[in-house]
């Protein structure tokens, strides 16, 4: 029997079990094959639950199990690195019509995935604030920032930082009525989350697209660049600031 046949029956509970598999008496393997079906489904579902704990709590156990099972059957891991499994899960959730009213779920899931990416990202020494502080103003205007590999920005229209914290029982407070685009950074080993004002997040997004400080502030004149730079330095989001020689 080919592994194609074995594999197809693993992920499709309605498929017939493969032939040619037996117990010790020569009877068809039956429930014995289902051990593998169960192992695959449960282990992948648990990996998603571990990776998206707030999303799982917001959905509730029954809903999450059903949605995660649908996802893993359609999207089994494409590599043995389970730490990266579930990158497509936020998009999968967003496409479920029954969840249309919970539009923030996708962005909470994106935040959780960003946390995981940050946790496993490459180590890099943080920028010494003195380098920025001593830079001449005209040089600073033309400078670009280099972000640490562990730095992530999750743009959103929802208060995802507070929704996540409440879902995980970290706070009892209800989420505010404002968007919380969230900066993810990793000062040492544990990622930290910093919700940003929407205009600073938009400014940051352009800085992360390699615009100079002057270019980015021109695009977002109302945003407080000084405060944003203070946040980036304090959270160790940066590894360098540099000016191209012209």
């Amino acid at each position: 029997m080919s592994q194609t046949a074995f594999n197809a029956a693993l992920l499709d509970p309605t498929a017939d079990r493969p032939v040619g598999l037996s117990d010790s008496q020569g009877r068809p393997a039956g429930k014995r094959f289902d051990v593998y079906r169960n192992n695959v489904t449960v282990s992948l579902r648990e990996a998603l639950e571990t990776g998206f704990p707030a999303t799982a709590r917001l959905l509730g156990e029954q809903n999450f199990n059903a949605i995660a099972t649908g996802y893993l059957r359609a999207n089994p891991p494409s590599s043995p690195l389970m730490m990266l499994y579930g990158g497509g899960f936020p998009r999968y959730i967003a496409a479920i019509p029954a969840l249309a009213k919970l539009a923030y779920l996708r962005d909470v899931a994106r935040l959780e995935y960003a946390l995981r990416q940050s946790y496993h990202a490459e180590d890099a020494p943080a920028l010494d604030p003195a380098k920025l502080a001593t830079m001449a103003p005209e040089k600073l205007n033309n400078a670009r920032l280099t972000f640490a590999p562990a730095t992530q920005l999750v743009l959103t229209e929802w208060p995802i930082h507070a929704i996540r914290a409440k879902a995980l029982g970290e706070t009892d407070e209800n989420p505010p009525g404002v968007a919380q685009p969230t900066l993810v950074t990793r000062p040492e080993f544990d990622p930290i989350l910093t919700p940003l004002p929407a205009d600073q997040a938009a400014l940051l997004a352009d800085l992360m697209r390699d615009k100079t400080l002057a270019e980015a502030s021109t695009l977002h004149p109302g945003a407080d660049l000084g405060q944003l730079l203070g946040t980036l330095l304090a959270s160790m989001a940066l590894t360098d600031i540099h000016v191209e020689d012209t």
């Binding site: 040619g20 039956g30 014995r32 593998y36 730490m83 490459e122």
Partner: protein, 286 residues
């Protein structure tokens, strides 16, 4: 070809879990070495890599791969081979092992160790993949016997003979999982002692022990599940004595991967393995 000597000490080891880091570093006894799952240490950086670097300065490390799919019908994933080589290059582990199983099919990874028919075609493929892996990482590997829930009608080899042949053709060593023997023997209704008698014990470089769950199939026959989620069962300890009496002392690992307990519970299992190893020394004639 590759260095044939065993660099793991013939002491108890445990499968490393990050929640045990502080306890292990404070007082590791009786644990003499650690095993890690290769795929958990393939991120670019962060705490997992930093902790592993620190642990490797204190303990011999065994790298145990769970994702290469050595028994897969397709080619081995070149990216994954490179990741394994990178890990072995910087860590320089005392041992590297993988499974007689498959887990990837057409780039979909199933996160489980799936069974193989023991045929000439499988033998050729497994040997090719073991050779490819050993050539890539530049070291000898140990290949582990699986736990079985069912049998393939097309099999023409018994499992010990199959593993012995792989070892003979590729020079690889073997990893003997004693719980897997007990699980498979119960599920497929054969004698675990006969399995051990047929096994090429001279090639064994490491022993695994783990807990299993008990279930039944639809005919009421026992169906043991290799869960790694509880203490090693008493008959498995008895079978360990049977193995060690014939093999002599070997590095002996406690695997506990789900519902991971507090450190003292795992340390107690390691002490039990130490007692089994100590019995051998007591038997050596003066």
């Amino acid at each position: 070809m590759f260095d044939q000597s065993n660099h793991l000490p013939a002491l108890p080891g445990v499968g490393y879990k990050p929640q045990h880091y502080s306890d292990l570093v404070a007082d590791p006894a009786p644990v003499g070495w650690l095993e890690i799952h290769a795929e958990n240490y393939m991120g670019a950086g962060g705490r997992p890599i930093a902790q592993l670097k620190q642990l490797s300065e204190r303990f011999p490390i065994s790298v145990h791969g769970v994702g290469l799919s050595i028994g897969g019908e397709g080619s081995l994933d070149p990216d994954h081979l490179s990741r394994l080589k990178h890990l072995c290059d910087w860590l320089n582990p005392a041992s590297f092992s993988e499974h007689l199983a498959w887990s990837t099919h057409e780039s979909a990874f199933m996160n489980d160790l799936l069974p193989l028919p023991y045929t000439e075609a499988t033998l050729q493929r497994v040997c090719d993949h073991v050779n490819q892996l050993q050539d890539t990482i530049g070291r000898r590997m140990l290949l582990e016997n699986p736990s079985s829930y069912l049998a393939f009608d097309e099999s023409t080899y018994e499992e010990p003979a199959f593993l012995s042949e792989v070892s003979k053709r590729t020079g690889c060593g073997l990893l003997l999982d004693v719980n897997n023997i007990f699980v498979s023997a119960t599920n497929l209704n054969y004698s675990p002692q006969a399995y051990v008698d047929a096994f090429d014990l001279a090639k064994v470089g490491e022993i695994h022990l783990g807990g299993h769950d008990e279930d039944e199939d639809e005919h009421g026959a026992p169906l043991l599940i290799d869960s790694h989620g509880r203490e090693v069962a008493d008959p498995v300890w008895t079978l360990l004595d049977y193995v060690l009496d014939r093999s002599g002392p070997l590095p002996t690992l406690i695997e506990w991967d789900t519902d991971v307990p507090e450190w003292p519970v795992l340390a107690e299992e390691a002490r039990r393995a130490q007692a089994a190893l100590n019995k051998l020394h007591a038997q050596v004639p003066a």
